[in-house]
C-alpha cells in the first residue's frame, strides 16, 4: 500500500508528490531522451509522428476534456498550423520563430471559431465545428495563391540557422522537446486557477457564473489555446509530411483526434497521451495482421476504419473513462492491494434524462 508522508502543506498539491512517481516518470523521460542512441531511423521517425499526434491530442483534450466543448473539426487547426508554418518558412522566417508564430495564427483562428461557438453547446457545437472544418478544407483548396490549392505546397526542410534538423534523430528530439514543453505547461495551467476555471465551465456554467468566472471569456480562451497547441502540432506535421495537400486534413483526421481523446479518457492529460499513442500505433498493428487475412478483406482502408470504429465502440460501451480510467483502476488496485474490492468501480443503472433542457 502507498502512504504519503508530507512535511509541508505545499507537498500535498505538488505535481509528483510521491517518490515512486518521480522515479517512474523520470525514467520514462530519460529513456525517451536516450532512445536515438539505440533506435533505428524507422523507429525514430514513427515515434516523432506519435509525439506530434500527442501534441494535437493534448490540444483537443484541453478543449473537449477539460472545458467540455466538443470539437469534431480539429483537423482544421492542424491544417492551418501546417500551412501557416510552411508559408512563413517559404518567406524566409527562421523555424524557431515560425513554429510559435504558426501556433499564434492558429490560436487566432481558434478565437474566430470560439466567438460564434460559445453561443451553442453540446450537439450543436459538434456540428458547428464539423462544418467549420469542412469550410476550412475548401478554403485551403480555393486559396491557391498562398496554399497551392488542391495541388499542394512543398515544405522546406527543418533547420535552425544552417544546422539541419531533418535527420531522424534531430527531428525526433525537436518533436520530443516540444511535446515535453507543451505537456508541462498545460499540466501547470490545469493545476492553477485558469485550469480550474476551464473545468468549472465544463461541469456547471451556472455555478461558474455565480463564482465570478467569465464563462464566455473562458470558453473563447479555451478555443484559442486549444487551437494554438494543435497549430504547433500542425507546424511539426508539415515537416513530417514534407508536402501539404488539403486532403491530408480531412474529417477523418478530426475524428481520429476525437478518438484519441475519448479512448484516452476525457479530462486527463495522461489520457490524451495514451489515446494518441494507441491510435497512432493502430495502423502499424493493422498492417502487421493484414497478411493473415483473406484476400479481399485486406483492402487497407476499410480494415483500418473498421478497427478504429470497433475500438471506439468497445471503449464507449465498456470503459467510458478510457485508457486513463483503466490506468486509474489499475493504480487503485496496486495501491490498495490486498484490500482491493472487485466492485469498487461498478457502474449503476441510469435512466435517460433529457438534455434538451440543459
Amino acid at each position: 500500500m502507498r502512504f504519503d508522508y508530507h512535511t509541508r502543506y505545499r507537498d500535498s498539491f505538488k505535481l509528483f508528490s510521491h517518490a515512486s512517481e518521480r522515479l517512474l516518470y523520470g525514467a520514462l523521460i530519460g529513456a525517451l531522451l536516450l532512445l536515438p542512441l539505440v533506435g533505428s531511423a524507422f523507429v525514430l521517425g514513427e515515434l516523432a509522428y506519435v509525439f506530434i499526434l500527442c501534441i494535437a491530442s493534448l490540444g483537443l483534450m484541453l478543449l473537449t476534456g477539460f472545458t467540455g466543448q466538443v470539437s469534431l473539426g480539429h483537423a482544421a487547426f492542424v491544417a492551418i498550423g501546417a500551412y501557416a508554418h510552411a508559408w512563413l518558412m517559404s518567406k524566409g522566417a527562421p523555424m524557431l520563430v515560425s513554429i510559435p508564430l504558426a501556433g499564434l495564427i492558429t490560436g487566432f483562428a481558434g478565437l474566430l471559431l470560439g466567438l460564434p461557438a460559445i453561443r451553442v453547446s453540446g450537439l450543436y457545437l459538434a456540428m458547428v465545428s464539423m462544418a467549420f472544418a469542412i469550410i476550412v478544407e475548401q478554403l485551403i483548396g480555393q486559396w491557391s495563391s498562398v496554399t497551392g490549392g488542391f495541388t499542394g505546397m512543398a515544405v522546406e526542410p527543418a533547420r535552425i540557422g544552417n544546422w539541419s534538423l531533418s535527420s531522424p534523430a534531430a527531428f525526433y528530439y525537436l518533436c520530443l522537446l516540444v511535446l515535453l514543453a507543451v505537456f508541462f505547461a498545460l499540466l501547470n495551467l490545469l493545476r492553477s486557477a485558469i485550469g480550474r476555471a476551464f473545468m468549472g465551465v465544463r461541469d456547471s456554467e451556472a455555478a461558474a457564473y455565480s463564482l465570478g468566472i467569465h464563462v464566455q471569456a473562458v470558453k473563447i480562451s479555451a478555443f484559442a489555446l486549444s487551437a494554438g497547441v494543435t497549430g504547433i502540432a500542425g507546424a511539426l506535421i508539415a515537416h513530417h509530411l514534407q508536402y501539404l495537400t488539403p486532403d491530408g486534413f480531412t474529417l477523418l483526421l478530426s475524428l481520429e483526434l476525437v478518438l484519441m481523446v475519448v479512448i484516452g479518457g476525457l479530462g486527463s492529460l495522461r489520457g490524451a497521451l495514451l489515446g494518441a499513442v494507441l491510435i497512432s500505433m493502430l495502423p502499424l498493428a493493422i498492417s502487421r495482421i493484414k497478411p493473415l487475412l483473406p484476400g479481399q478483406m485486406a483492402t487497407q482502408f476499410g480494415l483500418e476504419i473498421f478497427i478504429f470504429g470497433l475500438t471506439l465502440a468497445l471503449f464507449v460501451l465498456f470503459e467510458p473513462n478510457g485508457l486513463n480510467g483503466r490506468w486509474l483502476k489499475l493504480r487503485a488496485l496496486l495501491q490498495s492491494f490486498p484490500l482491493y474490492r472487485r466492485d469498487t468501480f461498478k457502474r449503476q443503472k441510469r435512466y435517460m434524462k433529457s438534455e434538451r433542457y440543459r
Partner: protein, 294 residues
C-alpha cells in the same frame, strides 16, 4: 420563357428535388433524435447498406426493382433495429456525448465492413425511371427525381398520421419526452426505441435506394448525412416538419449558390447556413427554444 427565368426555374426544380433527398435523410435522423436524443451519425451508413443491398439484389440476383426495394427496406430496418437493440441500448442513461461517439464508431465500422466486402469501385443499378425525363412547363426534370419528391411527400404524410393517430406513435412521443415516466406508464421503452430505429432505417433505405443511381453506389454516400444535419439545423432541431422544410431550403440554396455566387461556394454553402443558423437563431425555423432552469 426568357433565359434567366428558365435558368432560375430549372435551378428551383433541381433544388426541390435534391432538397427532397436531404429532407428524407433528415427525417430519419430527426426521428431517432426525437426519440432517444441520440444524433445518429451512422445514418448515412444505413443509406450505404441499403444502396449496396439494392445493387446486390438487382444486379447480381436480377430481382425486379420493386421487390428489391421492399427487401432492402425490410433488411435495413432490421439492421437498424439490431443496432439499437444490441449496441445503442447499452449506453442508455449516459450523457449525450457517449451516444454521439458510439454512432460515430458504428459509422466507421459499417463503412469499413462495406469497403472490405465490396472494394473501392463505384457501382450502379437500373431503376424503372433511369434515363427518362419529364418536361414540366419547359423545365427538364429527371423522372427519378420526381419519384424521390413523391416518396418524400408520401413518407411525411404517413409519419404524420402514424404519430398522431396510432398507439405506437404516441408511445414513441411519450418515450422521447420522459423515459422513466413512459416506463411507469407501461410503455415498453426499449422496444419502442428500437422500433424507431427500424423506422428510421426504413426511411434511410428508401432514400439510399433512390439516391444511389444518381450519385453511384459507393461509401461516399454517407456524406449526404452532413447536408441532412444542415437541413435539420435550419428547419429546427427536433422538429419533423422542420426537417422537410430545412431539406428543401438547403437544396434550393445550394442550387442557387452554384450559379449566382462565386466559384466554390456551392460546396460550402450548406455548412455556412448551418453555422449561421446556430449562431443567430439556434432553434431554427420551426424548432422549439430550450433553456435551462436553474
Amino acid at each position: 420563357m426568357s433565359d434567366s427565368v428558365q435558368v432560375f426555374g430549372q435551378l428551383t426544380a433541381n433544388g426541390i428535388t435534391v432538397g427532397a433527398i436531404y429532407a428524407l435523410v433528415a427525417l430519419g435522423v430527426v426521428l431517432i433524435y426525437k426519440a432517444t436524443e441520440v444524433l445518429n451519425f451512422a445514418h448515412g451508413d444505413l443509406l450505404v447498406i441499403a444502396a449496396f443491398s439494392a445493387w446486390g439484389l438487382i444486379t447480381v440476383l436480377g430481382l425486379p426493382f420493386w421487390l428489391a426495394l421492399l427487401l432492402t427496406v425490410v433488411f435495413t430496418a432490421a439492421i437498424a433495429y439490431a443496432l439499437d437493440a444490441w449496441v445503442i441500448r447499452r449506453i442508455a442513461g449516459q450523457p449525450q456525448f457517449a451516444g454521439v461517439m458510439l454512432t460515430i464508431a458504428l459509422a466507421f465500422m459499417i463503412r469499413g465492413l462495406v469497403s472490405m466486402a465490396f472494394g473501392p469501385e463505384s457501382r450502379n443499378y437500373a431503376t424503372p425511371w433511369s434515363n427518362s425525363t419529364t418536361n414540366i412547363a419547359g423545365l427538364q426534370i429527371a423522372d427519378l427525381q420526381l419519384v424521390i419528391l413523391g416518396m418524400a411527400m408520401a413518407v411525411t404524410v404517413v409519419l404524420y398520421f402514424f404519430f398522431r393517430h396510432t398507439r405506437l406513435g404516441i408511445a414513441m412521443q411519450a418515450a422521447s419526452q420522459n423515459q422513466l415516466a413512459a416506463y411507469l406508464n407501461g410503455v415498453r421503452v426499449k422496444q419502442v426505441n428500437s422500433l424507431v430505429w427500424a423506422l428510421a432505417g426504413a426511411i434511410a433505405a428508401l432514400a439510399g435506394v433512390l439516391l444511389a443511381p444518381i450519385t453511384l453506389v459507393d461509401t461516399t454516400l454517407w456524406l449526404v448525412t452532413l447536408k441532412a444535419l444542415a437541413a435539420l439545423v435550419l428547419g429546427g432541431f427536433g422538429s419533423i416538419p422542420g426537417a422537410i422544410v430545412g431539406g428543401l431550403l438547403i437544396g434550393l440554396v445550394e442550387q442557387y449558390a452554384g450559379v449566382y455566387m462565386p466559384e466554390g461556394t456551392k460546396d460550402i454553402v450548406a455548412y455556412l447556413v448551418l453555422i449561421g443558423v446556430l449562431i443567430f437563431r439556434p432553434h431554427g425555423l420551426l424548432g422549439e427554444a430550450h433553456g435551462r432552469r436553474v
